[in-house]
Amino acid sequence: MKVKMLSRNPDNYVRETKLDLQRVPRNYDPTLHPFEVPREYVRALNATKLERVFAKPFLASLDGHRDGVNCLAKHPKSLATVLSGACDGEVRIWNLTKRKCIRTIQAHEGFVRGICTRFCGTSFFTVGDDKTVKQWKMDGPGYGEEEEPLHTILGKTVYTGIDHHWKEAVFATCGQQVDIWDEQRTSPICSMTWGFDSISSVKFNPIETFLLGSCASDRNIVLYDMRQATPLKKVILDMRTNTICWNPMEAFIFTAANEDYNLYTFDMRALDTPVMVHMDHVSAVLDVDYSPTGKEFVSASFDKSIRIFPVDKSRSREVYHTKRMQHVICVKWTSDSKYIMCGSDEMNIRLWKANASEKLGVLTSREKAAKDYNQKLKEKFQHHPHIKRIARHRHLPKSIYSQIQEQCIMKEARRRKEVNRLKHSKPGSVSIVSEKKKHIVAVVK
């Protein structure tokens, strides 16, 4: 007699080792899963909540400076090394993994105005209020040696900023004019001016390395071409731009940190309209730095906070602040795009995570999958009001919060006035100026 039996192959459900995952056979027929959307919604909600719960961005504070930190520089080859210059002329080199200062140099008298590293990472340059440009070795002096700069250039005027070329032994300083120096010479190989005002910052384009951008205190941003030794174009904004930063992935995009609380992202080929106006700060923006992925940038402001903006959004996705952090003067995004450093008035350098809730360290593949899934869920349901509300919620210090309210009222009043003016004037006589165009005074060829 033949007996029919139900039989299963153990291979289909038995684990090979204890560490294996249990095999769970699934039927993916959508009719069997009627509550897909609600379940995913709940998951997304939980993911969003967890993200907020785990959002602890502050990592460390590096203290040691005896005056406000005025400038920061990344090491081009080592992620763990950071250089900082203070208002008392002191330069410190930090090790981020140990969170310790590994070297201190009294570089200048007065402020250290600018600091930059050479592309190879063997030396760095500083400029200070004492009208000097100094080149230092990255490694400390040997035993018995004195701490001395490799080269010192005495200038005629104060230099307010410095930046090094990304490939060649050339650097640029700014002050009364933009000077381009060969490392081997004591006089600039080329100096470019346009108008007479003190230039506060100069930056080399990291992709098309012959391009420079500078911003001066007469409210303008000037672009230069090093190869042709001429300025290219100038755009005059409403208020003074403190610094600019080039996008490291998009050759023609740069962002300017302005005194009027906004940041402007420009396409350098069309300066008459910024690509995006980023607003959220409630005080002058002092520094800006791009993430090495070119997708986001971080800005430091006088309002004692730093904000992270996506490049294509006008509002920030994140705001960092602590009780003790004062006016943030400089900010840098580390080269692995994971951390942010900011130097502030109260002599500290702070280290933050770029993604507030990111788990540090090595992730297992399951953790990684869960992280990706949660991220996608958050993206998918980001427009749902509950999730949106939770995701957007940030704590702000009272001062910033009240200032934001105030700004809102002012903005609304201005808008109302504009509308009223438009309403009560002859049609066509008053035109509405878009937010993007509003802040551009002129473009000078």
């Binding site: 699934r26 995913e40 290219l232 692995d336 090595v362 869920l377």
Partner: protein, 771 residues
């Protein structure tokens, strides 16, 4: 021209020349220069005068740097130096001598030349420079556009962009930086050295190295895979051949042989086409083989096998067959070869094609399946009707039917307003249904005509056509007759007819129609026909023998069914003779009726009231009945819980607040919106989506692994930006994306002074800027 003018032009010429000689100099007019020199001289004199005052340097002779006005015995006087030199003075001597013709010419040319424009001022030149430089730079930057766009739209970006290739570090490199320190290590090294093992020397011989370089890992893998495949194929073929060799089935062999023969024939044909000479040779070969075959008598049933078979054939069917086959083969071989003609086959094909073509024609006919229906032909245009009249006995041509059908459908559209379009569609639907009914008595095989009208498949059309052909004869005659009658008697009715036809049906909604039984439907549809029937009665009494009775019945039915349709079509149909005024009246009335008809089906107010009542009912909170039959008393089929119990367990919900639209008779305010659910619903369509359906679809497709396969899950959850921890992400480089980076250094250009532009270049620049 005055002499002064000439002098000016000369001056200008000289200036130009100077500029051309010293292109790097910026506009410095010579006059200014002179002035400077004059001033200097005066200054010098003054200094001398002052120095001479103190008397010490009195003996010092005044140094002369320029011809002075003072007369000196050694020097030429420079009398008249204050006067200006005029060209005419120079020309004086030229006039006399003819040998200076060349000079004269030159001078004349100078005269004719205009003065050169002043060079641009510095700012303007700089501006032009800037503009040109900016244009150049922005052009250079434009090469990044595609990359930027690509990166922005990329599904996933992995940083660092440039993959670091793990360097193949040979052991000796590693070893060179490492030294044996511990005693154990040293001991080991000693041992190794004793054995003369290559430790620090290259472990690989040059040949090995070369071979390593020659073939990369991928290449090697590929090659290995190829070899494997070849081997596998070979073994497979071998196995197959062995297997096939083993097959004992005779049938298989037979089939194989036949197949081979066929293949050979095919090949031969192919060869014939491609290479006739080779084919000829082949043919010869075949012929030879055939001859050999014929000679061999192998197939003549004289062989051993054949003889044995012949004995067996008596009892064995198979053997007999084999014999027969051999005989056939023999016959085939011994016969002379003949080329088979293909003409027969072709003819067959043509016939088949003809048959295949038929369905299309049938289809066309079926498209106007109402052709034989006399009732549908009433609205035909006179032209087609005349054609019909001319040969009423003939079978209807498909084309003739097609036009009236389309016209009939179009006409109401042209006459009525767009608002009625929907209405019209419904009507046409029903008309078809009615047609179906009409044709029923004549041809019983077409009951599903109406449905097939809409989704007409070819096959069905064919069958219908076949059915129809049987009965078409009689039908066509009668239809033609009716057409003629209609046309003669009542030309105005052509337009009204469709409206009249539809009206009774209009009173019903589509749902009503569905609910109605076939009979009712039939009767209703017959009603409008009565208009015609009244007229046709005299002529074709035999056509519809039961018509008058039917008509009266139908009228009654209408009254009973729908009181709204007050005007019965029969009234009109009875008043056949009409004056023109009446006709006009009729038209107006028609218009009204038409509008009425258009909205007759939907009694808006009643519908609305009904809807509101339903909404109110639905929104009322319902009582909760918690009665459980059988608890505390007898249970069973048919037993109901007592009223007392029911009362006890009935929870009455309190009446909610009054509806907002309680006192608004014309409004329904939906209070159904769930506040709790609304908190989780998206109110505004988010930005990148253009339609709410798009958004809903993205929400409804799950991405979790619970509902997706592992692969799909991974694909759906790929992060947009991936960065490696601890890796420095460098700015994008031209080499990374395949662009050639500029070979010359940025610095080299700066070191050359770029401001040394020629005057010509400047001019060009200016021209460009003006343009």
């Amino acid at each position: 021209m005055s002499a002064a003018g000439v002098a000016e032009s000369l001056l200008a010429l000289s200036q130009q020349e100077e500029l051309e000689d010293l292109p790097k100099d910026y506009p410095l007019s010579p006059s200014e220069d002179e002035g400077d020199i004059d001033g200097e001289r005066k200054h010098q004199k003054l200094l001398e005068a002052i120095s001479s005052l103190d008397g010490k340097n009195r003996w010092k002779l005044a140094e002369r740097s320029e011809a002075s006005l003072k007369v000196s015995e050694f020097n030429v006087t420079s009398e008249g130096s204050g006067e200006k030199l005029v060209l005419s003075d120079l020309l004086g001597p030229v006039k006399t001598s003819s040998s200076l013709a060349a000079v004269k010419k030159q001078l004349n040319r100078v005269k004719s030349k205009k003065t050169v424009e002043l060079p641009l001022n510095k700012e303007e030149v700089e501006r032009i420079h800037r503009e040109v430089a900016f244009n150049k730079t922005s052009q250079a930057l434009s090469k990044w556009d595609p990359i930027v766009v690509k990166n922005r739209q990329a599904e996933q970006l992995v940083f660092p962009l440039k993959k670091e290739q793990s360097a193949f570090a040979p052991i000796e490199h590693v070893l060179s930086s490492w030294k044996a320190r511990t005693p154990l290590e040293q001991e080991v090294f000693n041992l190794l050295h004793k054995n003369k093992q290559p430790v620090t020397d290259p472990l690989l011989t040059p040949v090995e190295k070369a071979s390593l370089k020659a073939m990369s890992l991928e290449e090697a893998k590929m090659r290995r895979a190829e070899l494997q495949r070849a081997r596998a194929l070979q073994s497979y073929y071998e196995a197959r051949a062995r297997r096939e060799k083993k097959i004992k089935s005779k049938k298989y062999r037979k089939v194989l042989k036949k197949g081979k023969a066929k293949k050979a024939l095919k090949e031969f044909e192919k060869l014939q086409k491609e290479n006739p000479t080779a084919a000829l040779e082949e043919l010869e070969k075949i012929e030879k083989a055939r001859m050999m075959e014929r000679m061999s008598l192998k197939h003549q049933n004289s062989g051993k096998w054949a003889k044995s078979k012949a004995i067996m054939a008596k009892y064995d069917l198979e053997a007999r067959q084999a014999m027969q086959e051999q005989l056939a083969r023999n016959k085939e071989l011994t016969q002379k070869l003949q080329a088979a003609s293909e003409s027969e086959e072709e003819e067959g094909d043509v016939e088949e094609e003809g048959e295949l073509l038929v369905p299309d024609a049938v289809n066309e006919i079926q498209m106007d399946a109402d052709g034989p229906n006399p009732w549908m032909l009433r609205n035909h245009s006179s032209g087609t009707k005349e054609a019909k009249i001319q040969d009423p006995e003939q079978l209807p041509e498909p084309v003739a039917h097609e036009t009236p059908e389309s016209e009939e459908e179009e006409r109401p559209g042209a006459e009525e307003e767009i608002l009625l379009n929907e209405f019209k569609e419904r009507r046409s639907l029903r008309k078809k249904a009615k047609l179906n009914q009409d044709t029923k008595p004549v041809s019983g095989q077409e009951p599903k005509d109406s449905s097939s009208q809409e989704v007409l498949s070819e096959l069905r059309a064919l069958s219908q056509k076949l059915n129809k052909e049987n009965q078409s004869g009689k039908q066509k005659v009668s239809s033609a007759r009716t057409v003629r009658a209609v046309q003669r008697e009542d030309p105005t009715e052509e337009e009204e007819e469709p409206l009249l036809l539809q009206r009774p049906e209009r009173a019903q909604t589509v749902e009503d129609l569905e609910e109605l039984g076939k009979e009712g439907c039939f009767q209703n549809k017959e009603v409008p026909r009565s208009v015609l029937e009244g007229q046709q009665l005299e002529r074709n009494p035999n056509n519809h023998p039961g018509a008058p009775k039917e008509k009266k019945k139908k009228e009654q039915m209408i009254d009973l069914q729908n009181l709204l349709t007050t005007k019965s079509p029969s009234v009109k149909s009875l008043a056949v003779p009409m004056t023109i005024e009446e006709l006009e009246d009729e038209e107006e009335r028609d218009q009204k009726r038409m509008i009425k008809e258009a909205f007759a089906g939907d009694d808006v107010i009643r519908d609305f009231l009904k809807e509101k009542r339903e909404a109110v009912e639905a929104s009322k909170p319902k009582d909760v009945d918690l009665t459980l039959p059988g608890w505390g008393e007898w249970g069973g089929v048919g037993l109901k819980p007592s009223a007392k119990k029911r009362r006890r367990f009935l929870i009455k919900t309190p009446e909610g607040p009054p509806r907002k639209d309680k006192n608004l008779p014309n409004v329904i305010i939906n209070e159904k919106r769930n506040v709790h659910a609304a908190a989780h619903q998206v109110r505004v369509l988010p930005y990148p989506f253009t339609h709410h359906q798009q958004f809903e679809r993205t929400i409804q497709t799950p991405i979790g692994s619970t509902w997706n396969t592992q692969r799909a899950f991974q694909k759906l959850t790929t992060p947009k930006v991936v960065t490696k921890p601890g890796h420095i992400i460098k700015p994008i480089k031209a080499e990374d994306v395949g662009y050639r980076s500029s070979s010359r250094s940025d610095l080299s250009v700066v070191q050359r002074n770029p401001k040394q532009l020629t005057v010509r270049h400047k001019k060009q620049l200016k021209k460009n800027s003006v343009d």
